[in-house]
Symmetry: C2
């Protein structure tokens, strides 16, 4: 069955789409290889067929699914291979983890690097992203990044519960990675691809975990270089 993943593409074919990295890893976890379709962030017409305006979108045969968590649920329900959730309780708590990362971590991370993200986009996409971000935060991208050396400290502290996990085990999900690991990896991978700003400190248990995450599935995460 043909699988197609629509995700954001930047200059030099940098696939920087924050949430699509969850889907890329979830597909690899299931042993599935999709065809990738890069989309410009300003080009809503390209994905109008999905009935909404955000990526990732997975087309699985006749089925069109958007929203990375719903895509993961679809993959778990309809494809074999390793489990992403480990049953109902694991799936429920993965959804909680998804909400935690999206409501607590991403809104603190995005302002720090949004200015850098525009640097890997063509002029039209950069203007589009600037407009969206500046409207959402009520500040210019330059203002948002101005105190990031300080602001990143609060972000790192919010990651303490995730850090505590890694004292007891190599992955957020336990002895092996599962979907919750992909949830948290995705914003860090987005930052790695789009910005040279160090979100994590060297020596942080989360840094070592991120390296393990980059190694997974044949080095899938390293297929796009870090931004120097």
């Amino acid at each position: 069955m043909a699988l197609t993943l629509y995700e954001l593409g930047g200059l030099d074919d940098r696939r920087y789409s924050l949430f699509s990295w969850r889907t890329r890893y979830a597909l690899a976890h299931k042993g599935l290889t999709p065809e990738y379709r890069p989309v410009r962030i300003s080009d809503k017409a390209a994905i109008a067929f999905s009935g909404q305006d955000k990526v990732p979108i997975l087309v699985d045969g006749e089925t069109v699914i958007h929203d990375s968590f719903r895509i993961a649920q679809h993959l778990e329900a309809h494809h074999g291979g390793e489990t992403l959730f480990g049953g109902e309780i694991g799936q429920s708590l993965s959804r909680f983890f998804n909400s935690f990362v999206d409501r607590t971590i991403v809104p603190r991370l995005a302002p720090l690097i949004a200015l850098d993200v525009t640097g890997i986009l063509d002029d039209g996409d950069a203007r589009h992203l600037r407009g969206v971000m500046e409207k959402a935060f009520g500040k210019t991208l330059e203002e948002l990044a101005a105190n990031r050396d300080k602001d990143v400290i609060a972000l790192r502290r919010l990651l303490d519960p995730a850090r505590a996990q890694l004292r007891a085990q190599p992955f957020i999900s336990g002895s092996k990675p599962a979907y919750a690991d992909y949830i948290l990896f995705s914003p860090l991978q987005w930052a790695r691809i789009t910005s040279p700003f160090p979100i994590l400190e060297e020596g942080d248990a989360l840094s070592a975990w991120r390296e393990r995450m980059l190694d997974l599935h044949g080095g899938l995460g390293r297929s796009i270089p870090a931004r120097a």
Copy 2:
């Protein structure tokens, strides 16, 4: 096999121990009935046998276990009945949820009601708790509670990821309650028993969930009345 749970007891036998409510529910979830031993918060000698100074402590035959999460792991590993975690991924993400609640929710909740908690304790225990809390927060209990009508709003916002869970399902853990539900219920039950201050608003999905939690296991949570 005899099971004994050591937990905090206040005036009129109010069992207000924050973390012990996790263990009470976990035992009921497994169909187990322990003997309860109330301990005064200032009486460290009573629990010195455990090699540390905090409750809950579960004595299961020859085994002495402290720390509510470790007790839950012990129950899952050594007793049958309904699962608390649903496997390795669920157990790992329950540990994350435990860290999130203990590091993010409890430190925002405790200052709002610590003054009220002293009202259900005898003078010695009240003095002890006041000393511990005022040292930890660097303020008097009266100062900590002074702006609680405002401070509670930030606390409620931190509960958004948990609230989002309940849009899709009746319990944090899915269609049925499991250990993650007990993790979040415990500080709310602690607040219910020790303080008349409304942590949750009426109409909040978490309020309805808390009522369902109070109904569980034959109304276990209602065995101690709410503080009027």
